[in-house]
Symmetry: C2
Subunit: 479 residues, 2 copies
């Protein structure tokens, strides 16, 4: 064996050993923990996430499965085909429901931090170690979150969890209406100021309780000091119009349920920490996870807290522990940057959408938008423009009495004013849906407004044309 | 370079290359998918699962976290210490609530199949692609499950999901009481046969509806054919006594809600597929996941189905999509072996527990158990002995009017008969808790029964002693 040959052996051997070391390093140091039982679930999730849906859809672990056992793409509105790549040209813009998909890209960008692996034996029992149905860790995270954002006082307050704010709304009505047994002879009146979120009415009526009755608009109660107990729903910022509403009714018989689900920097400046007696929040409008059905109430009064806790036990034995685990993880991601990442993402998205929409509608005389001004935000520590969750559009033409139908004819699906007990001259457009939905909405609105302007130009031209014609005619008549 | 040296070089090189190949194979073939974003969550879950709790406790991802940022062990009753290794000698056996921890070891044995990785962007919106709040995949799995086990007819039936059977109980009462508007003048009477699960009463009373009223025991309604609408809760197998109950009330005004949550091969022979008008099932008593809060109703009547669907929308906008995903995964594991693995595990565990308990109590004259006989099971295709979820214990001594207190004094916590509207001479012992809880229960019962036998022996000895003494005395008196 020659020297050259021998040294080339050495090189090959050295290389081989180097590769070995590298691979062993990869295994033991880089990976740190060698995954065993969790690998299958992790792989499953990554495989589903890797299914290509052209950026216009998502495949889910629990999606409908094809013969080949792979979940199918679920396409955004107006897209179809196996990979959601086909645009449905005549399709209506979906600006109806409040599905908060505007935050989906944020969670895709934070995939590693926000994923949760749930072991098969996770929290099988009914209660947490303290005997309650409420995760103490999650409650702690929620208190920390409010302190960080500065949007609500939670010190010395009680917290109850519910399946979204939805379940808590009725729990609150129940608690406030049965609070004092002294007044129990007549049912409490439940009211809200128009325009208001429809569920307040439908839910309160649905349960047909002996203790409360929905009585409609707040204004009819303003002068009734002799009325029995009154419970007022206050949504702040308001759904649909984004106003920072305050309770209208005051006095010993009046109590308010503050629906604060939109009181986050995505949607509004935070002028100060809310300190209402009973406030509701939800994961849906904070992190965008409407499907998890997780919300919480912040409560001053101990007996109201106990009644609401009892409600949660009687109605569903608390909130799914799986939803609580997920909420913990997501709120943890929010807190990692003191909310900076998600609220900047959320605010910029919503602010851009509002500006695009405002710009288009400012060219129109036919449609107008609610007025929202800039305001100092203690969270961002600066004055910031509006970025509401919904546009509350008014059809200004006398003949356009049904604004929903006017937009429907232009291939835009909103939610009609009557759904908020307001005139049908109003319509709500949801701005918190996917970017696809918003883009199509803007496209349709642009077309609608440009048609309006063309008509106006025609009309103006006609008037221009008409003027000399009329004077000629008039002249003819005179002469 | 010598030949020997050269050949040893070869050997080393060959070995090194072999190791290379092996490592590359491990990477590319064995691992198949190279995990990226899911790795952190998977690792987190495995690290928590690896926290040693001595087999007497569990650490959870959302458990209380120590300063070092590691969740703490949550110990089973009667164990304490950082790793749950210390037995609390004077501690009471916990046989109270129905936490179905008996299935926890099953899920630990099936860790890889049952884990779920939830991506941060999983199901953020309110609805599934069909616009409903119900996962079509999960509904399909549930139908397949019932067909496989043969415990319920689902063909041509509607299915509604709820937060455990708990939420569905009230949804069903609501639907059945408001079903026909013709009879709406007087509220429907809600009844159940003693002994019955307390929630039927507390929940129905809690909601204080105009449409229904809890009226107690079924027996008071037997002869009232002129009564208004009556809704009967039927639990089959019954909680607490495991009997396969049937509805007592019949007729055009009577309807039944069949609580079938224990109608699985763990707890009872399955004589035939249940085909009641309205049946409730839950994940809690099928897979043991009480904490997920997931249940379903199987419904014959379309309008009842619609009312229950409306209830679920109004009260909580459906069930957490996270809980639905988990249920899908778990039911999928059940189906993988056509239920064989879980039902054999569940049945053998429950059967052994029942046999241990029966054996001890058979030595006692002070305590008796409910009578349950062997029965042919269509699922196991053989005659099988009883394996109920609960023991319904009766204190036979005249003076033992409060059986709960009798057991309490012996360091056993059950649930008193009055909690089931039955005499306090009865007490329910939960047999579905952890093995630790069951072992301590058996230990305490063994001691209690052996004390009884000792007392009896003393009494017998005393009688033996007394007899000659008495005759001596008597003799003395005569003579």
């Amino acid at each position: 064996m020659g020297k050259a040959q021998s040294s080339s052996y050495f090189v090959i051997l050295a290389l081989s050993i180097a590769v070995n070391l590298l691979l062993v390093f990869q295994f033991c140091v880089d990976g740190e923990w060698r995954l065993t039982w969790s690998k299958r679930a992790a792989e499953e999730a990554e495989r589903v996430a890797a299914i290509p849906c052209s950026g216009h859809g998502t495949a889910y672990l629990d999606g409908l499965v094809l013969d080949g056992k792979e979940p199918v793409c679920e396409c955004n509105s107006c897209y179809e085909g196996p990979d959601c790549s086909e645009f449905v040209t005549e399709c209506a813009a979906n600006a109806d429901s409040g599905d908060p998909y505007f935050l989906q890209p944020f969670w895709m960008q934070h995939a590693a931090q926000s994923a949760v692996l749930v072991a098969g034996w996770h929290r099988m029992g009914y209660s947490y170690p303290d005997g309650s149905y409420i995760s103490a860790e999650l409650e702690g995270h929620i208190r920390k979150l409010h302190a960080t954002v500065g949007n609500a006082v939670t010190q010395g307050r009680y917290i109850v969890f519910g399946a979204g704010s939805t379940q808590l709304l009725n729990a609150a009505v129940h608690a406030l209406s049965s609070h004092n047994s002294s007044n129990s002879s007549s049912p409490a009146s439940v009211v809200a100021t128009i325009p208001y979120y429809r569920l307040y009415k439908t839910q309160t009526e649905f349960f047909r309780s002996l203790d409360y009755r929905f009585e409609g608009d707040t204004s009819s109660f303003l002068n009734i000091s002799e009325a029995g107990k009154v419970i007022e729903f206050v949504t702040s910022p308001n759904n649909p119009d984004g106003k920072l509403n305050k309770a209208v009714l005051h006095g010993p018989n009046a109590s308010a349920i503050y629906d604060r689900v939109y009181y986050w920097p995505h949607f509004t400046a935070i002028p100060n920490p809310a300190d209402d007696d009973l406030m509701l929040f939800s994961l849906s409008k904070l992190t965008g996870h409407a499907g998890s059905r997780f919300g919480w109430a912040v409560i001053k009064n101990e007996s109201v807290y106990q009644k609401m806790t009892e409600y949660m036990s009687s109605s569903s034995m608390g909130v799914s522990r799986d939803a609580q685990l997920r909420a913990l993880k997501l709120i943890n991601v929010v807190l990692e940057t003191r909310g900076k990442q998600i609220f900047e993402f959320g605010f910029h998205t919503m602010r851009n959408r509002w500006e695009s929409l405002s710009k288009i509608l400012s060219l129109s005389n036919r449609f107008s938008l609610q007025k929202l001004g800039p305001r100092y935000c203690t969270y961002f520590q600066k004055i910031r423009g509006p970025s509401p969750a919904y546009a509350w559009v008014k059809c200004e033409r006398e003949e356009d009495t049904d604004c929903y139908e006017v937009l429907k004819a232009a291939n835009i699906t909103g939610r009609s004013g009557s759904q908020f007990s307001a005139p049908d001259r109003y319509v709500r457009l949801s701005l918190i849906r996917s970017q696809d939905d918003f883009d199509i909405l803007i496209q349709r609105l642009t077309q609608l407004v440009s048609e309006e302007r063309q008509q106006q130009n025609h009309a103006n031209n006609f008037l221009q044309l008409k003027k000399p014609l009329m004077s000629t005619l008039r002249r003819g008549l005179v002469y």
